[in-house]
Symmetry: D2
Subunit: 383 residues, 4 copies
């Protein structure tokens, strides 16, 4: 049966709301039944109407929505909420939903601050409900294959990890021109203490740890606010130390004029390297120490089963961003189904980012900022 869920955020002008909805629909595992799409009640209603929802399940606040849902019968009531609001409205609805017994899927970063993230952590531990965090890039099949190749020892001991996330869309003072996305993402009150480092740096850091299986231990960072008048960093770079002696470099910038969203990761070990880039997401380059580089392709028969489980189409039929997102939703739905059967033991046995990744993301932001302010070269990344 489809999982009934409600959305918090995702009203007019939202980018990520529609992505979440499509991701949930794509594999047919979810049914959107209600929402608090906007704190503007009429905007919320109109989004609900567009989506063909019953008016009585659409509200102008997440509190009202959750209150109404909890009063419904178990067969009608939502099982989960999807939180797609700006960062400052992550923790409150997540906490409230968990308290009421709902599962939560939430856009990254987990919260406005590490402290808020800790509050969510308490509730997850207390309620035992499922929490998923949409670090999209971890949803791509060839990123999963990359992780598998590292884990299987194909690269040998890991030495170097280079991750980058160059964007150009904030090259101008867009937030002064009424651009809604730029507005909240560059506003500390809504985005948190990190600008680029929170918005895209957390993706890069997560990707590096996800693929390499190694945690960042120390950071030497510089954050810049390149565009005059901007309140938050729009450019970040860092040298990184990882567990087991690996080291690397992270770049996350929103002022690389002309760049779109070309997230890229390269990992090198004793025996070979690998490379994945978001602009060509269905390929993964494996470069052995000796011998020709190999182009692993999504949908082929030679991939690991955990990769194949995250594709829908035979090789040569491109899947993209929504599909990657849907892979996270599908993992979330499996965990909920197991939960309902009493079999949910925590996110470790699934392949979607969850609480731990969310906590690390918030700590990453704070460590990057602390390092950037410090004259010392290295700042410990501790949680």
């Amino acid at each position: 049966m489809k999982i009934r869920y409600s959305m918090i955020g995702g009203g007019p002008g939202s980018f990520i709301g529609a992505v979440h909805r499509r991701a949930a629909w794509l594999d047919g595992g979810f049914e959107l039944v209600g929402g608090a799409f906007s704190s503007n009640s009429s905007q919320s209603k109109s989004t609900g109407e567009e989506l063909g929802l019953s008016a009585e399940r659409v509200h102008g606040s997440f509190e009202a929505m959750l209150e109404a849902e909890v009063r419904l019968s178990g067969e009608e009531r939502i099982q989960a909420v999807s939180i797609v609001t700006p960062n400052h409205v992550h923790a409150a609805p997540a906490i409230r939903a968990l308290e009421m017994g709902f599962h939560v899927i939430i856009d990254k970063p987990l919260a406005l601050s590490l402290d808020e993230a800790r509050e969510i952590e308490k509730l997850v531990k207390k309620t035992g409900r499922v929490l998923a965090l949409t670090h999209t890039y971890a949803g791509y099949p060839m990123v999963k294959e990359a992780r598998h190749l590292v884990k299987s020892g194909k690269l040998g001991k890991i030495r170097k990890i280079f991750v980058e996330y160059p964007q150009g869309w904030l090259s101008t003072f867009l937030e002064s021109e009424g651009n809604r996305q730029a507005g909240w993402r560059t506003d500390p009150a809504r985005s948190g203490a990190g600008g680029s480092v929170g918005d895209i740096g957390t993706h890069a850091a997560h990707l590096a740890e996800y693929v390499s299986g190694l945690r960042i231990t120390e950071i030497c960072a510089e954050l810049n606010t390149v565009v005059n008048g901007r309140q938050l960093d729009d450019d970040a770079a860092a040298l990184l130390h990882f567990e087991e002696g690996a080291s690397g470099v992270l770049i996350a910038t929103q002022v690389a004029a002309g760049e779109e969203n070309a997230v890229k990761i390269r990992v090198y070990g004793e025996l070979g390297g690998l490379e994945w880039i978001h602009s060509n997401p269905n390929s993964l380059l494996f470069k052995p120490l000796d011998g020709p580089a190999q182009i692993y392709r999504a949908g082929t028969g030679y991939l690991h089963e955990s990769t194949s489980a995250n594709t829908r189409l035979p090789a040569g039929h491109p899947e993209g961003y929504i599909e990657a997102f849907a892979n996270i939703y599908t993992g979330f739905s499996r965990a909920i189904q197991d939960y309902e059967k009493g079999n949910y033991q925590g996110p470790e046995s699934y392949d979607f980012p969850s609480l731990e990744e969310g906590i690390r993301g918030m700590a990453f932001i704070e460590t990057m900022i602390a390092s950037s302010k410090s004259d010392k070269k290295w700042t410990k990344f501790s949680i």
Copy 2:
């Protein structure tokens, strides 16, 4: 409101059925309410169950399904059917559904033969219902931009059109090993008189005509059956004449070992050329006569509005095959909505392939076969 539809075909082992379902779900415009997923009644039922459908709307034959639907109230009854069966089961359900007043979306090629296609044509003309044909590649935004650039005169008068569709999956005698897809696609009784020429050649021909806006007028073709024991052609190539003096080359082969699905089109005019390849679907290369080649990218602000209307995400967030398919479904849904308001005047005002393209596709298959058998260089492509 979502359009209620039922699927014919798409049971266990189907590739394209799930693609159609996801494409219909993706933008939230369709609700799958029933099906005749297989002529094996229990297989049909079990697919229906997996999809969470009411058992009473799932049947073992399209006839039974259509009979049952037509008896339902207007508010419950399906509005459309999606036909995703092998080619020999295209015409009968399409004709029956049209007769009963349902709109039809159908996988390509339109029918088993041109004669069958003519029968469908009669019903469409008689009933005035909407018919859409899923020539997927025409659903890609950058293919639409290519068509727009040609139409806008950016390339000047068109001179050359090169289109190719190389696949490698039929390099071995797969149909002898129980491969279901290979089974029907190489069987004249289920696939029709064309093998590669029908399965992928029709895509290539449609793409060439769609992008260039020019019709093929003469064909000089060779069809080969490369793999021993195979009943149909698995390899085709042709020199082409187009309207207005343009000429070109078409390649459609299923024995290009190692190739996936790398459909590619290049069009050259007096002022420049353009190139699109399916393995990098969100880019379109425009090559002016003088000056640097330009990489047009999906999701950017400089594209034509008809292109932008077929993307969901900002530049740099890859969309793929399902999204291209969904663009056809979305066009189909708009036409149905207009139909229900009494505003449907025919497919010309929408951007999805329909009857004419289907008829041309069947004629293309027959002309390719006739040319291949002929000692004469050129065979007229007439309908």
Copy 3:
């Protein structure tokens, strides 16, 4: 010791003359000592001066130059001539030079016509001197690796060969604007009966035969003169039959606006395919039937020795067109050295195109033209 040679052609306005000179210099195996760079005596002299040659060895006609050289002592006298004139001045100097006992390296196509080529053939057979033909693309190391992979059976029995040579530089009526290169290449008196088919089609045909090891047996061609006023074809395409049941497609066009010189070859066999493109000359893609595609790279340790012998630099240090040319010159110099030691048995034991390839090239041009004029689909390619 360096081989002393003289150049015929290659004066002011020549493109290929300087390429030949650099190719000869690159590996240090040749010393240019004289020339008949132009039939305009003062232009020939001034080119000689620029090149630092003794005035007495520079002449206004190849006859005068050859006469003068033959009178010099064996230690001073040239050993070879390099003929880089337009096609109509290929046969006469080649024949005269061979008669006088000089070795000959000559730009393709071998002559103005097959008949002329036959005359050269007679002299080569009579004199036993070395003749090399600069089909450049056969000089690229990764083309040699491609040939090796086919020969070694890595692709299994060959089924399909697609070769293309798209250029855009003749998209306009350039020969009317005083462009020297366009001038002679579109003039039947200087270029011969073939335009695009001779200028670039012969390269494509040679490449197809060189890599596949299979000869073209039948041709179904269309030649077009796309640009108004042009005297020769500027666009050609053909379906091809090869020995051993292989088939393919050849494209050679000079009106593909925006294209540079993107020669490309793809060969598919029972076990895999390979792909090489001139715009990325140091890579060769090998695509096994199953398993990831592999990127073979020039300069690596895993290539065949006959490939490695044609590179100068370690992997990752790009070599290009002049280097490919130089590989032919180096083969030519080895043959001459062997000749002088009495060990030259014919071109078969070297890796450079020679008489046979030249004869086939001329026959290819004539067969393409004959096929293009014929209503019959297939024209035999016989010599």
Copy 4:
């Protein structure tokens, strides 16, 4: 007239010696007349013989060679020396040659240490002779176009500079296996205090400054010795500050298993970005803030004349590493010719790296090492 020169280094087992020779020959501007190819006299002689040199001009020490040359008549005597030895034999022959009045072209880095570089500087200033330094990547035409685009304001004020030089060839302890190149490059006595930072880091730093026109002002670096037993760093990364508020990242590693020589530079300004990568050297990507990215190509008509002056072939005919090297040699020859006419005013009016770049390179190595040892984040890059 050709410039007569002699080579120091470049005997058996040398990689770069043959590159220098080919680069000098390629455009016909130099004549190699002698050498001290090895300190092993017989090895030097045998290299001389292979190169067809007179035995009396080939020596077992650079001192003997220079002494002998200086005694020859002005018309016979060399005009320049090319120094291609390991770093510890750069300064002594350079100083001696300058003292004797010869011009010097020298492989990078300029010397074993900044102090040695300062000694060379004194002699250059004292003698006024021409000194060229072969920072190859600055010799590529599309790198020159990149520099031109920045200088012309096409990118606006520069904000970010990312440069990287990933290699994999030192992933294993190659110097323990008798590999000659690895031997000296990882030996502090022959390579200097920097390993990867000197061997390839200097190339990256030079490229960044050359393209951007901005100097590095502060460095935050980490150098690693990844392979056990190695005596020098084989991996380096740094955050960079440039003049005028730009910042960036530099990566230079020799343990990126599977990488060849993929030097890459990206520069972003207020109005756009550009990207060049060594594996595709004849293309330069220009990415405007809005509008499609453009692929600038070597050999086209729309490039700046200073770019075109550094290409030999029309667009689509690849040039490579030797050609880039030759561009430096050709600049060097022009300066020498001007010198001989009394017109040489210093390297500023030519386009080849010289003393200043060499001094900065040595200071870069020392600053990288100092920063790597420091706990402070930033170390000033001062000279």
